[in-house]
């Protein structure tokens, strides 16, 4: 009998009382995950509704945020765009670093350094974002400012590295925020990639090497294609984390409602979650609902990203079903 059929048959037997309870509890816990997502949606929508009704669709793409006692105009376009820009920068920086680290750990390093490296990466994953933020603003920003100056001086003719006239110091930019986000998501991508790499059939790799393939060829033609699904999953997990990142970006980025499309060295940008944090303290009743609406936008954005991610990952890893 094929394995699948055996498994199916095992599941259809009559369950005794203990098992019914056992599976009842686990099912209930699982359905709670749905309820939790539904609850989050319902509560956020209920609180966001007054603002959304008031502001209309311009809430998402407009670029004005003016709240006075008489009238409240709340639009988050630049913040939403800025979040995506910073997340993409972070992913772009983090992915090569993560794949390289995972490759070294699994395939190159001897056992004990590999173990040390794994532990260090896991430690990095555990570093709280507020610590990264503190380090980011006091230690990393001066360093990254040097890199930004270098890029601007030598590659300033590329629009990506250009700045506005009159901009003198290149701190608090999406570039720096992108690095901070990269530091936070490297461990996520690394651990997923390492997991996939370590499940490789070593004989496949040794076989390819024995047949005369170079390490480069093995990496490019055997390892990467097989692992790409898992890596994509890790990258999307990182992307979700990056879009929702709040405190660390709050410290290193100059939030501005003047939209910054691609001048990543310019000291103004947006991050929707940080915007919520920055406005929350002195929020009026109307603004409170506006910030809830902003939260709803982040939630829906990340939810969609994650659902797409899961479809890709599940398709890439058929053995998980």
């Amino acid at each position: 009998m094929p394995k699948e059929a055996v498994r199916r048959k095992l599941g259809t037997g009559v369950l005794n009382r203990g098992d019914r309870l056992f599976f009842g509890i686990t099912s209930a816990a699982s359905y709670f995950a749905f309820i939790l997502v539904a609850l989050i949606l319902v509560f956020l929508i209920a609180q966001a509704f007054p603002a959304l009704k008031d502001q209309g669709l311009a809430f998402v793409y407009g670029s004005t945020w003016e709240v006075t006692p008489e009238k409240a105009v709340m639009q988050i376009g630049p913040m939403l765009y800025g979040s995506v820009l910073i997340a993409l920068l972070g992913v772009l920086l983090a992915t090569p670093m993560a794949i390289a680290t995972a490759y070294l750990i699994v395939f190159i390093l001897p056992k004990s350094p590999a173990k040390l490296a794994t532990n260090l990466i896991d430690l990095l994953a555990a570093l709280p974002s507020v610590i990264i933020g503190l380090w980011g603003v006091l230690v990393f920003t001066p360093i990254a400012q040097g890199w930004a100056d270098f890029l601007h001086k030598n590659l300033g003719w590329i629009p990506l590295f250009a700045t506005d006239k009159g901009t003198t110091s290149l701190n608090s930019s999406p570039f720096i925020a992108g690095w901070i986000v990269a530091v936070m998501i490297v461990p996520i991508i690394t651990s997923v990639t390492r997991e996939i790499f370590s499940q490789f059939d070593r004989e496949l790799i040794n076989g390819a090497l024995a047949l005369g393939a170079t390490r480069w060829t093995v990496f490019r033609r055997v390892i990467l294609p097989t692992a790409s699904g898992g890596i994509t999953g890790g990258v999307l997990l990182g992307l979700g984390r990056a879009i929702g990142e709040t405190v660390a970006i709050y410290y290193v980025l100059q939030l501005s409602m003047k939209i910054n499309f691609f001048q990543i060295l310019e000291p103004r940008g947006g991050a929707i979650a940080s915007w919520i944090l920055s406005r929350f303290g002195e929020a009026t009743e109307a603004e409170f609902h506006g910030l809830m609406a902003a939260g709803l936008v982040i939630f829906i954005t990340t939810l969609v990203i994650n659902l797409i991610a899961n479809i890709i990952v599940n398709r890439a890893q058929p053995w998980r079903k």
Binding site: A100, N119, L134, V186, L211, N310
Partner: protein, 308 residues
């Protein structure tokens, strides 16, 4: 007699043909060297950044360290008070307490979801897995806003229990996902053998699968803890700060290390920044203790196995 001459051309290697780098440089060694060097360089950046963070926290945090910084609270302390007075004792207790409250719900629930995903035959498993994974991407600030909207709906006062409630949705998917991985790594044959011997599913789980996956479950717990112990945004939104020690989750503000750090960075004075570094060092040590404990437990288990 006709002599057989070996073909002087190198044998064709279909896999190397595809490697443009190798054929471009004419040497296979070059491609390999590039790959390894690049990998080492990129990894060096990662470890450089990590060590920079660790070193900054340790060196700057050491300036704030003293016994009273660890056990005193923040009463009568302003942002410019000398570092001889006041500390983070109240925040350490508050953080541990809130995280413990969140864990008490998230660990059993996460484990139950992991069991459902690996042991049951339900057709809804893929859907549950998708929703759990989607929850893993829940931004921490959204979790805070969610709980804030509950507070506003109930008309309640902000208090510790709401902070714990805001940490719970962040912890749950991490625990569930890592625990699922751990349970999945247990060979299916073990479970089938237990079932074949007549054990009901729950005994197969508690007596065979759970012991086999113990270290993985502990990893799940620790990654879950690590995910929330330093969460700042949800706590800023859902609890009030407190300069004293308060362990009553239903009444009054609670101090936590992340919100303490947040508050003292925002103040911006030299001594307040030093306090923030000091609290960061305490938080880092807390995380470090969790980590090392976990690794030692895992190592112990492996050693025992090797002896047998």
């Amino acid at each position: 007699m006709e002599k057989v001459v070996a073909d002087p051309r190198p044998a064709k290697q279909p896999w190397n043909k595809s490697s443009k780098l190798a054929s471009f440089t004419g040497g296979r060694g070059f491609a390999d060297a590039t790959l390894i060097t690049l990998a080492f360089l990129l990894a060096a950046v990662v470890f450089g950044l990590l060590l920079s963070v660790l070193w900054s926290v340790v060196s700057a945090g050491a300036g704030a360290m003293s016994p009273q910084f660890l056990y005193q609270n923040n009463r009568y302390i302003s942002t410019t008070t000398s570092l001889d007075y006041g500390g983070v004792g109240h925040a350490i207790l508050g953080t541990l307490w809130l995280v413990l409250l969140a864990t008490m719900v998230a660990l059993p629930l996460g484990l139950a979801i992991a069991v459902y995903l690996t042991q049951s035959q339900s057709k809804l498993r893929n859907l549950v897995r998708s929703i759990t994974q989607a929850l893993a991407g829940l931004p921490s600030v959204v979790s805070g806003l969610f709980v804030l909207s509950i507070i506003s709906f109930l008309g309640a006062q902000k208090s510790g229990i709401f902070g714990a409630l805001a940490l719970f949705p962040l912890m749950l998917p991490t625990v569930a996902r890592v625990a699922e991985e751990a349970l999945r790594l247990v060979p299916a044959d073990l479970r089938l053998a237990a079932l074949g011997l007549g054990a009901p599913n729950y005994r197969a789980f508690f007596q065979v699968i759970l012991p086999a996956a113990k270290s993985g479950i502990i990893t799940a717990l620790l990654l879950g803890l690590a995910r929330v112990v330093g969460e700042t945004a949800p706590l800023i939104l859902t609890i009030q700060a407190n300069n004293g020690t308060n362990l009553n989750p239903f009444d009054g503000g609670v101090a936590t290390l992340p919100t303490y750090i947040y508050g003292f960075i925002s103040a911006g004075y030299a001594s307040s920044i030093t306090r923030a570094w000091g609290a960061s060092l305490v938080l880092l040590i807390l995380v470090g203790i969790l980590f090392i404990t976990a690794r030692l437990l895992t190592a112990d288990k492996k050693k025992k196995k090797a002896k047998k």
